[in-house]
């Protein structure tokens, strides 16, 4: 047993729903108790889908357990086929139905329906949502895709986008445009918008673009082996990754690489003088493995940030995330425990968090700005406007999104200059966020009233470092967005020298020591 407060991923059958809901003309019959239908609202409310997910739940109750739940499954399965007439049927069990071992696959097979029936075995007590999506899509592809002649012109399949994915809708358009520029046509996009017929003709493409390893790596591996289709390893999020992706796709298609950068603005925006203040901003990155790794590269190479924490919640991606962290001199945080992530962020005291909606809440609590870079996300991260993460426009969107939580460049200087002003103090927050600027708390103006020493802070040597009152007061004059960093640096500096007390001298010595 493991206590969970919030979860980054749902159970595996929700992953299967993400695949089924993204597709056309399939239906998923899920053996599940009353209540599991809550999952419909993820799609209809959070993603604002205008159709119910194509899922029939058997909704068994306690009284059915003593009777015949298998018969209930068969009735529900037959009724679902008769009503919806899908081209293919997916059948499986949710966590509770897994325990009663009714074998939905065998039961559905026995109905002798005139369409392919694809049984799913998703171990609910071991695996999670991403695995469920990956496994479901793999089973569908394995059952329906056929070896066939390649198309005459170079083509690719876009593989991996699902329902409830972070910006999947817009990434499809962006990647399609990247390929189109090089004369590579899209054969099939799957599972997003694909019908079983489309899955059957995946084999006509020359190669696969694996957009999201989380949801389609197993299928791509199988297609490589069974259909002889290579797949791309680069996920085109960020300028550098987009260039690498273009080169990789061109090589796989046997065409010349080509990238139109006329609309690309990230590099210039990042180089322009207003962005000088972004230099060395400390960022903490956490999300799914794919988006976290991409964000780390953009942060260091394209934004000039300092990455102070990097991690992912999906253990399947632990290896590449560990490697990416190591390259930055960090130890990766691989956990699905929200409280661990909160602790790590508090410890690292970043100036900006790049995370999921969980980290957005952590940021709110700790008073640190956060930009969302990965699922799980909430309704506001399914914007009406075109807002991809991939390709040229994706890079532009990322620049805007990441800078937005921060105070503006010149504003930062003004805040530093007038930080004692009663209205224009630094805790008032960025001016473009619409918070009402609260008057500076009176307590902050009277540091003399503070106790002589503050709580001892533990340092790496296990010893305690004590802040003297004047040093604490001086620290409060440091603008809030760098205050946590100044505190950490000063404590580390003092600890390294075996100093037990921090006075104003120590503060400024540390400042000189860490000057960049």
């Amino acid at each position: 047993m493991k206590l969970a407060v919030w979860t980054y991923e749902g159970p595996p059958h929700v992953g299967a729903m993400r695949v089924a809901t993204a597709m056309r003309d399939v239906h998923y019959v899920l053996h599940a108790p009353q209540g599991d239908t809550y999952a419909d609202l993820l799609f209809t409310m959070i993603e604002r889908r205008d159709h119910r997910p194509p899922v029939t739940y058997t909704t068994f109750q306690a009284r059915d357990l003593g009777a015949d739940t298998a018969a209930l499954f068969k009735t529900a399965c037959k009724a679902a086929y008769d009503r919806f007439r899908p081209e293919a049927l997916i059948v499986g069990a949710s966590c509770t139905a897994e325990l009663i071992q009714d074998d939905p696959g065998g039961l559905a097979e026995a109905l002798d329906l005139p369409v392919p029936v694809i049984p799913l075995e998703l171990p609910s007590y071991q695996r999670k949502e991403n695995f469920g999506a990956d496994e479901t899509f793999f089973r569908i592809v394995k059952r329906l895709a056929q070896p066939m002649e390649r198309s005459a012109r170079p083509t690719a399949n876009l593989v991996g986008p699902t329902a409830l994915g972070f910006r999947h809708r817009d990434d499809i358009a962006e990647v399609t445009a990247l390929l189109d520029e090089m004369g590579i046509a899209v054969n099939v996009v799957a599972p997003y918008g694909a019908s079983p017929d489309d899955i059957a003709r995946l084999g006509a493409a020359h190669f696969n673009v694996l957009m999201y390893p989380e949801t389609a790596e197993a299928a791509c591996r199988w297609m490589e082996k069974a259909l002889g289709q290579p797949y791309t390893r680069t996920v085109p999020i960020g300028v550098g990754a987009t260039r690498d992706f273009v080169a990789e796709a061109a090589r796989l298609a046997g065409v010349a690489p080509k990238l139109d950068t006329a609309r690309l603005r990230l590099p210039w925006y990042s180089a322009s003088v207003d962005s000088t203040y972004l230099t060395g901003k400390r960022v903490f990155i956490f999300g799914d493995g794919t988006h976290a790794i991409a964000a780390a590269r953009i942060a260091t190479e394209e934004m000039g940030f300092e990455v102070v924490g990097l991690g992912c919640y999906n253990r399947e991606m632990a290896r590449p995330v560990r490697a990416a962290a190591k390259a930055l001199g960090l130890e990766a945080l691989i956990t699905d425990d929200y409280l661990d992530v909160e602790r790590a962020i508090e410890e690292a005291a970043p100036e900006l968090i790049l995370g999921t909606q969980m980290e957005r809440h952590i940021g709110k609590r700790l008073g640190i700005g956060c930009a969302v870079i990965s699922a799980p996300v909430h309704v506001q991260d399914f914007p009406a406007r075109y807002a991809p993460q991939m390709g040229i426009e994706g890079a532009n969107v990322i620049f805007d999104t990441w800078v937005h939580p921060l105070v503006m460049g010149l504003e930062e200087h003004l805040l530093a200059m007038f930080r004692d002003d009663f209205e224009f103090h630094d805790a008032a927050g960025p001016s473009h966020h619409g918070h009402k600027a609260a008057a500076a708390p009176a307590a902050a103006e009277a540091p003399v009233a503070a106790p002589a020493v503050t709580e001892p802070a533990a340092n790496d040597n296990g010893g305690k470092v004590i802040w003297l009152a004047e040093a604490e007061a001086e620290l409060r004059k440091v603008p809030f967005f760098v205050r946590a960093k100044a505190r950490r640096n000063t404590e580390a500096y003092a600890a390294a020298r075996g100093q037990a007390r921090i006075d104003v001298e120590t503060l400024y010595e540390a400042k000189a020591h860490y000057a960049r």
Binding site: M1, V5, W6, G35
Partner: protein, 422 residues
């Protein structure tokens, strides 16, 4: 069941099929805010944890007082002693949260199916952590409870633990928002019932004492098991329509007053001003709602009293009133006022119910979050049912707000659709 109720014999459509409703665990979302020193530990699966964070539509990030002990493969394979695992997780939790005075071990579908004995665990832990923390258990599993029945199961678990009292007193049953609870206490005090016990109490120490001279009234209709548990303790139920709208609130207060020998004239005299306010507030929404048809999907068991309010005070025409469970002993007075007009349905086959809905094409459909947007896309105006549970809607001062919840989707539709009048 209830003799003398005109609608007692009205035919009810009983259906079996896919239920598009939440399980009882969802009640934890409001119970944990109401009971401020309680922690709800669900013993379940990742699905339970995911439901809890998704059901409210948003996550409540103010350090939640609920969590899920997620069963893992080793718990199921018998490799780990589940009882020992529960002990460990509870000890860890209570050492981190010294503010917790009552802990509920909440059963789920998987814990029920593997027959994990949470009653035994609660008994053992209760002895271990007494008197600082009391430990109880109830089931919020979907195989046994529907949505609001989670609150019923929770309060029914509390009932046998309440201290005994021979005092002649009024007990009001059901979690109400604090502001509404305070208004209710104010009204009852003016009528002449200054002391009112409520269940659930805001804190463990404020638990009501009960006994044979306790008369209780329900503020929520979904508390059948709790009602039975209190009756076993000798307390007696005051049957009344539910306090929604001006009429419902007055009838509820009058029934309560009568049980304490207070004449209806007194109720009428002290409620004249709030009744006038409620009527005035409702009249604004009535302009939009009058003559419109409404269809309820089953959700919270509030459907019958709400349909009664909308029909009698707002001029709406209920076409179908679906409810997960029709408790005639509790809903008798509301059914009598509602009359024989609408089709009553109990349980659900969501596909067939959608067929009926499409045939009826009502002006407004009350349904769950999974159905609302797809129905809007079909051109049907909807009202999310869950908002009726999460919003203060009881008693006079909220009567206008309650009517407004139904009027808003229609007014919005009118604003966005040229040529459509609200």
């Amino acid at each position: 069941m209830t003799a003398g109720c005109p609608s007692a014999g009205a035919p009810v459509l009983r259906e079996r099929g896919q239920h598009e409703v939440f399980c009882g665990l969802t009640s934890i979302i409001w119970l944990h805010r109401k009971m401020q020193d309680a922690f709800f530990l669900v013993v379940g699966s990742r699905t339970c944890a995911h439901l809890l964070q998704s059901a409210a539509g948003v996550m409540i990030f103010a350090e939640p007082r609920f969590g899920t002990a997620i069963l893992e493969e080793s718990d199921l394979a018998g490799m780990a002693d589940a009882q020992a695992e529960i002990d460990r997780e509870v000890a860890r939790l209570l050492s981190r949260r010294s503010d917790i005075r009552q802990l509920f071990l909440v059963g789920s579908c998987p814990s029920e199916v593997i027959k994990l004995d949470l009653a035994k665990a609660a008994e053992r832990l209760d002895a271990q952590f007494a008197p600082q923390v009391r430990v109880l258990n109830f089931s919020g599993s979907g195989i046994e409870t529907t949505f609001t029945e989670g609150e019923d199961a929770c309060l029914a678990a509390l009932a046998p633990r309440l201290p005994a009292s021979d005092k002649r007193q009024l007990l009001v049953l059901g979690a109400l928002p604090d502001v509404v609870e305070d208004q209710m206490r104010g009204l009852l005090a003016e009528i002449g019932i200054p002391e009112v016990a409520v269940l659930p109490a805001r804190r463990a120490g404020d638990d009501p004492a009960i006994g044979p001279h306790t008369r209780f009234a329900l503020a929520q209709p979904f508390l059948g098991d709790t009602m039975a548990a209190l009756e076993r303790r000798g307390a007696r139920h005051i049957a009344a329509p539910f306090p929604f709208g001006e009429e419902g609130t007055t009838a509820w207060l009058t029934a309560v007053a009568a049980a304490f020998g207070i004449p209806a004239e007194r109720v009428e005299a002290v409620t004249a001003a709030p009744r006038a306010r409620a009527r005035k507030a409702i009249s604004a929404a009535r302009e939009t709602l009058d003559g419109k048809s409404i269809f309820f999907f089953p959700d919270s068991q509030l459907e019958v009293p709400l349909a009664r309010f909308l029909a009698r005070e707002c001029g709406m025409r209920p076409v179908e009133v679906g409810t997960p469970y029709l408790h005639r002993g509790i809903l008798g007075p509301d059914l009598a006022l509602l009359g024989d007009g609408p089709r009553l349905s109990e349980g659900q086959d969501v596909e067939r119910q959608l067929d009926r809905l499409r045939a009826d094409r009502p002006d407004l459909t009350v349904c769950g979050l999974g159905l609302a947007n797809p129905l809007e896309a079909e051109g049907l105006a909807t009202k999310w049912a869950i908002e009726l549970v999460f919003t203060p809607v009881h008693f006079y001062e909220q009567a206008g707000d309650l009517a407004g919840l139904f009027a808003r989707p229609l007014r919005r539709r009118a604003l966005l659709t040229p040529g459509v009048a609200a």
